[in-house]
Symmetry: C2
Subunit: 549 residues, 2 copies
């Protein structure tokens, strides 16, 4: 007896997700992501298409060891006019004995069969049936991926069902219904899945594969499960061609926390969702989407003053789930819009009373910064943050710079060092054998612990040269700075219309090699000055927050 | 007799969207967006909350003139224990005679009434009814925004309905059902809207307001319309607190192109959707989301080789709608993953045969670039693009740099200028009155039309100084370069773990003040070199593509 509330999860980040514009996984990237998915408890991990490209061959030649998942290979049904046994594509799928399952894509839309493939309709059905029959005894599980199923069914339901039946009758474990073009709406999915089940293909053998072209991929996937389907395909963070695939990171908690379904993931392990989502962003070197449902850093952020005071009274007032269930956390946002109650909440997190920060102390701190307003006009912390955000600072992300601002006003942050003057020279010229060489050299004057130091450093580019020189000075007094690494360095123009002469904001994310990460910000009309401000804040924050030695 | 297929659109980008982390509209920003929405044909534009903050007061004091939309103000029902006539909040809403409608938020969830507001349940109903009754004769339309309606209805349907009825019985034109916490699923919406209609509040007087916390905001909005609701609220691009509001840019084409509903937007005007979407990104200085349904630059991009050859045969094979309907366009992507057939398609767009580009010509072009592989190893264009993407180049976006690469191989692009050596000095020191000043100065040697020029320029930061010097040289020969503007300048580290010493990619978006935009890319371990490569490509592309004089 099957457990009718058990839904099987199938991840195709490494195959369909790899189709995304700008994405190019290496075999090592794929192995890293597969290990995350295995640890999470995804049932099937589609690793790629053996024989289609060198990366996928490398990946399948030495696949990561799976503990909870079935590693799955993707391929195509046999070609027209060829026997399944002699099809090189099918044989490539059989070359990897460690596979847990094989998925073969085939056509179910008559128009596609005749126009895109140029194949007789009956031959296409034989291609499906014979391919499944050939693989069935040779691999643990065979699936049929019914490309364009919904578009095909809308035009010719009879033929689309015949294609499914060719796979089902030959023993395919799953028939996967694909909304390949992503244009279907939930009512289409509900109706068509219902008709497929009524036609005799049980939901326990049906999968759903949606794309997000109408912004309904998650809803369509859930609608299919409601209609009886028991395998859901998707990708981490909805990665995928065009508008993306269905986002498993949203589907999983919707199924488990809201709809009462079970998966291979224990409820307690849902807290790994944030980690898995971030792991993909790391591999792709992408900035995580702050507003991503469930796992985004803003997903449980409260900014509006009205909301914030209500959340303080009872979180369920403004949160659809407890953020801890998916590994996320509540966030109170510092911003102009927020008003005083948010700022109070943020300060409470820092353990600081608003009243402790005097106007005079803020004026003193701002006098050290290079801002375009008169520091003496500042009335209080809310007013100051508003003014600095107007200058281009963004404390929503650069929480370390915000904390430094407040703690400097309170006199809690030492002046670890003071940068005096500097000169950075970037030069390109030909070397003795006629090759172009570019080198940056920074000369800086810095005061540390009452003594003045001049130092020079070289590097790739002005910021790097400056960083080299500064660390030469500082690691004497603060040896732990040797472990400081800049994990990300982003530059953007704050007023986008004025080009390189406009004001730029530099955001630096730093790590200390011990798992700590912090973000700092600098703003200036000069991109180098902005970089140096963010860099100096990063160093100061590391020394303040994680101790001087 | 009402037209039952007419759906009213209500945009709240300027009010609820303004709650988004990192968003801070000025009154001028608001006016600009409102004009776009009015031109599109949105029925109601919620401009903000008069009396809540200085920006909204400025906006409503001198609102943009509406031609097709009703400018709407947001506010709150009267406070407890006060008469509607003497409530300062309500009076603030009446202070603006040009308003087309007023929306008042109130509570419908008993728990919120007693816990968040601390008000008697009956008094809350009187607050709703009396506020509507007071405003009804004084403004053209009154709406009741039923905050937390779905969460409230799930716990206490009777009370939630009473709140709606208090508004309806007193003449509110619309009762807006809000899924404030964004956690509802489509089946919840379908069931509850059905019950509300069955309880006697007609769908022609009901609105829906969804948030995207379960990634179902669009589906939930559509489900509500299916269940009878005839007003849909949302924001441009789904802007909004936490995970965003329902995205009108997806909802509108779903309603009109797929579900057969009518709005105030003519079918032919749907092609403005891309423009409206981009207009908001411009105001927010955000990079448009490439994978946004309908309007993203990748929404109709084809990368997988299999797809591309099918699209060439018949676009409906892989496109859910004709991209031109919403003002978008098909895109064939150049990338490693794509294989040969995509490259062929992209080259066809450029009007160039693959075979025309010889191996030798590619080697010659690459010898001019600073790459880490041996140019002589390059076998063909597909191989070269793959190698360059491995270096960090990203031609998915930088299509101008890709075109230059190919046309340079074909000898179609003149050497407009050749940069020889340069030296850039950034210096910070105190001026005569003790203030810090930072200045960058670039000295460059450039060959133009057989003559060598040395020039010096200063600017804010090294790239700006360099740009100044280079343009001083070039505008003599190419005066049209005076119109070149850098619209965006983005920097990112390609290998994120190695900090400022890692390889950096610089992407520059340029405009010529005549509506043309193009994107170029540079990659180098030195951020300045990468910037200069992208900058030189930008200049060369402008001269090649838009003429030399």
């Amino acid at each position: 007896m099957e457990n009718s509330s058990r839904v099987y999860l199938y991840d195709t980040t490494l195959r369909d997700g790899a189709q995304t514009q700008g994405v190019d996984f290496s075999a090592a990237d794929k192995a890293k992501i597969a290990r995350e998915l295995d640890a999470l408890g995804i049932d099937y991990i589609e690793g790629g298409w053996p024989g289609a490209n060198p990366t996928d061959d490398t990946f399948f030649a030495d696949p990561p060891k799976m503990t909870r998942s079935r590693l799955t290979a993707f391929g195509m049904t046999r070609r027209a006019g060829r026997s399944a046994a002699n099809d090189p594509g099918l044989n490539a799928l059989l070359a990897h004995p460690s596979l847990g399952a094989v998925t073969m894509v085939g056509k179910s839309w008559d128009f596609q069969v005749t126009v895109a493939l140029g194949v007789e309709l009956d031959e296409n059905l034989r291609m499906i049936g014979e391919s499944v029959a050939h693989l069935k005894p040779r691999v643990p599980e065979v699936m049929y991926d019914a490309e364009h199923f919904f578009d095909g069914y809308k035009r010719n339901p009879e033929y689309a069902l015949k294609a499914l039946r060719a796979a089902y009758d030959n023993g395919a474990r799953w028939m996967v219904l694909c909304d390949t073009n992503g244009g279907s709406l939930p009512e289409d999915i509900t109706r068509i899945v219902g008709e497929v089940v009524a036609a005799g293909i049980p939901g326990s053998h049906l999968g759903i594969h949606c794309h997000n072209d109408s912004e309904n991929a998650v809803a369509n996937s859930l609608a299919a499960v409601r209609a009886g389907v028991r395998q859901v395909q998707g990708t981490i963070n909805g990665l995928g061609e065009r508008c993306g695939n269905a986002n498993l990171i949203s589907i999983i908690p919707n199924l488990m926390l809201k709809m009462g379904f079970e998966t291979n993931i224990a409820a307690a392990d849902l807290k790994n969702l944030v980690r898995v989502s971030r792991a993909l962003d790391e591999v792709l070197d992408r900035t995580p989407n702050r507003s991503q449902p469930y796992v985004g850093r803003s997903a449980f952020a409260h900014k509006g003053g009205l909301h914030v005071s209500a959340v303080a009274k009872d979180p369920s007032c403004y949160e659809h789930i407890d953020p801890a269930l998916v590994g996320n956390a509540r966030q109170i946002v510092v911003s102009d819009q927020a008003g005083r109650s948010n700022m109070v909440a943020r300060m409470t997190d820092l353990g600081i009373e608003m009243e402790a920060v005097s106007r005079e102390s803020l004026v003193r701190v701002v006098e050290q910064m290079q801002v375009s307003f008169d520091p003496r006009e500042v009335t209080d912390l809310v007013d100051l943050v508003k003014r600095l955000e107007h200058e281009g600072y963004a404390y929503d992300t650069a929480t370390a710079s915000f904390e430094l601002l407040v703690r400097r006003a309170l006199g809690q942050v030492k002046r670890y060092f003071t940068l005096d003057r500097y000169r950075v020279i970037d030069e390109r010229r030909r070397n003795a054998i006629g090759q172009w060489v570019t080198l940056s050299e920074a000369t800086i004057k810095v005061e540390v612990g009452g003594s003045e130091y001049m130092e020079v450093g070289e590097g790739d580019g002005p910021v790097h040269a400056f960083d080299t020189a500064l660390r030469k000075v500082l690691t004497g007094a603060y040896p732990q700075l040797a472990a400081l690494e800049l994990a990300d360095y982003r530059v953007r123009i704050v007023e986008s219309t004025a080009g390189t002469g406009a004001r730029t904001r530099v955001t630096i994310e730093s790590t200390d090699g011990k798992g700590n990460r912090w973000t700092t910000v600098g703003v200036h009309t000069n991109v180098l000055e902005a970089s140096l401000e963010a860099l100096q804040d990063s160093i100061a924050y590391m020394l303040y927050r994680f101790g001087e030695g």
